[in-house]
């Protein structure tokens, strides 16, 4: 029995056309959530069905694909999505940020600055930044339409009154081009400053919630804050144990039963490239 044959990048051309239309609309109205007819994909919701559909719609046979899961190229989600596109699209894949033209990411922006011509595709679980403040979709749409965003600051106020500082550490709400308040997907707030004025195109796909939104290149993106409690991009106060980098976002890894811990770059490609270039951290072997 022969292998079933798929259209290039799994989705049929009509579906890709529909998704591309949504993407174009999203690029025309930065930060606005465009509804689209999300398809069933051969993976469960929550595994990046939105991101995969957006990637499938923008991939061309000449593209080189990189897939990141929480910064890493070698975790389950990244490996299986990479394998999915290797099989259904036959495109080249890579783990190097520089060598890739399309990057699908789950919850991180690569440390290596992106350039024009690259596309960064985010997997988004909940695209609506107001969701946990206002459960009604009809009302949140009205709030977006009327720029009625006072409630977003009530959330930050609650953070400060309870914790003494803005404790939201990921999915930190941003204002796009002075208009739409947008959820940047659950990236750490450390990555928020990279969203603005990025030369690459940023596309956000939410499969279960059936929404696509986008940040065109060089878009103004501002993280919401208070005058007396300004936004602060935070990370663990350490250097990477393997490559010694002190400006990258770090994961904390428990290494033994005695509570020993190791801080390492969450971006594996960045860390490996530095190690190959001869940088060494304290815990490097």
């Amino acid at each position: 029995m022969s292998e079933p044959t798929y259209n290039f990048a799994y989705l049929d051309e009509q579906t890709k056309r529909m998704i591309r239309r949504a993407i174009l609309k999203a690029l025309a109205i930065p930060g606005y959530q465009v509804p689209f007819a999300s398809r069933e994909m051969p993976m469960p919701y929550g595994w990046g069905t939105g991101g995969v559909q957006v990637s499938a719609a923008v991939l061309t046979p000449e593209d080189t694909l990189k897939v990141i899961d929480q910064g890493a190229d070698d975790t389950t989600n990244a490996v299986s999505i990479r394998a999915f596109f290797e099989r259904t699209a036959g495109v080249e894949t890579t783990t190097q940020t520089k060598a890739s033209s399309v990057i699908q990411t789950r919850h991180r922006i690569p440390e290596e600055p992106l350039s024009e011509g690259q596309i960064l595709v985010y997997q988004v679980p909940i695209p609506e930044p107001l969701r946990f403040l206002e459960p009604r979709e009809s009302e949140t749409r009205k709030m977006h339409a009327l720029e009625d965003y006072g409630l977003m600051h009530v959330k930050l106020y609650e953070d400060i009154s309870r914790h003494g500082h803005i404790a939201t550490a990921y999915a930190y709400p941003v204002e796009v081009e002075g208009r739409y308040v947008t959820d940047p997907s659950p990236i750490p707030k450390f990555d928020n400053p990279k969203l603005g004025h990025m030369p690459a195109i940023q596309l956000f796909g939410a499969g279960r919630e059936q929404r696509i939104y986008a940040l065109p290149p060089y878009t103004q993106v501002i993280s919401l804050d208070f005058d007396d409690h300004p936004f602060e991009a935070s990370k663990a106060d350490h250097a990477c144990g393997l490559c010694g980098a002190d400006e990258s976002y770090l994961d904390e890894v428990i290494v033994d039963d005695q509570g020993g811990r190791l801080f390492v770059c969450s971006d594996t490609d960045y860390c490996q490239a530095r190690q190959a270039a001869g940088f060494k951290g304290k815990e490097a072997v």
């Binding site: 009327l146 720029e147 009625d148 009530v154 106020y157 009154s161 208070f226 005058d227 409690h229």
Partner: protein, 256 residues
């Protein structure tokens, strides 16, 4: 003197059922208007139509705006009406949980209106919230507590603080003392009377409690079956009711 609010020929039907019909009155700055009547007489419908929560079938609600003079609020665009709803207008619900965010701390509740109109300084917002909690006699130590941990009377006072923090000129109140016991009611009325006088507020108060209007209202409208059957100065209507229904209403009050 121009009226702050002028209601003309306001009517609202629910299908064949009449909500209120052909209601007209003027409200002047600093004046408190009471609307009384039995359950189902259309007083809440009237209030919701005036406040923009319901769309009336006919009539005008003219409001003296700060910049453009008298304007029909029913013809305003939605953003304009919302802006009015969180700056110059306030609405106190009968049930505090309808007017409060129960999952947000007392301070956040009071600060919401300020943040909605662009306040972005945490210290200032908190300062104003503290000031207002004090003015409505809520222990300032409870600023970070959720309203769900408050008693009914405290919740109602918090709702009032949340509404008055933006310095509105017109307050709509729907049975503000309903569901509270009499001693708490008395304190709340005392507080409301003080605030209305100090801030020079205009207010429209809907209630079925004649004692409330006796204490708070300058003028009174009596409604029955969707229509205004009698209107006049509060003391005049209560002491010398002319319409048969007003007489029934006044005589129904229990004397202790």
């Amino acid at each position: 003197m121009t009226p702050l609010l002028s209601v003309q020929g306001l009517s609202k039907h629910y299908g064949a059922q009449m909500g209120c019909a052909d209601v007209s009155f003027d409200l002047y700055p600093g004046e408190v208007m009471g609307i009384v009547g039995e359950s189902g007489s259309g007083k809440s419908t009237l209030l919701n139509c005036m406040a923009g929560h319901l769309k009336p079938d006919a009539g005008q609600v003219l409001f003296e705006t700060r910049t453009e003079g008298l304007r029909d609020t029913l013809q305003m665009s939605e953003p304009e009406r919302r802006m009015l709803g969180r700056t110059d207008w306030a609405f106190v619900h009968q049930q505090p949980r309808d007017g409060l965010r129960m999952g947000v701390s007392a301070g956040g509740n009071v600060g919401e209106r300020l943040m909605a109109v662009g306040a972005r300084h945490y210290g200032d917002i908190r300062g104003q919230a503290l000031d207002w909690l004090e003015r409505v006699e809520i222990d300032v130590a409870r600023i970070d507590h959720r309203p769900s941990t408050f008693s009914g009377g405290m919740q109602q006072r918090l709702q009032i603080a949340r509404n008055l923090v933006s310095g509105p000129r017109l307050v709509f109140m729907d049975e503000p003392t309903g569901g509270l016991d009499v001693s708490v009611q008395a304190r709340l009325l005392d507080l409301l009377r003080g605030l209305v006088r100090d801030m020079g507020l205009s207010a429209v108060i809907v209630t079925h409690d004649l004692a409330v209007v006796r204490l708070l209202a300058d003028r009174l409208m009596v409604m029955k079956s969707g229509r205004v059957v009698e209107a006049g100065l509060t003391d005049q209507v209560l002491d010398d009711p002319q319409h048969a229904y007003s007489q029934l209403l006044v005589s129904s009050v229990l004397q202790v």
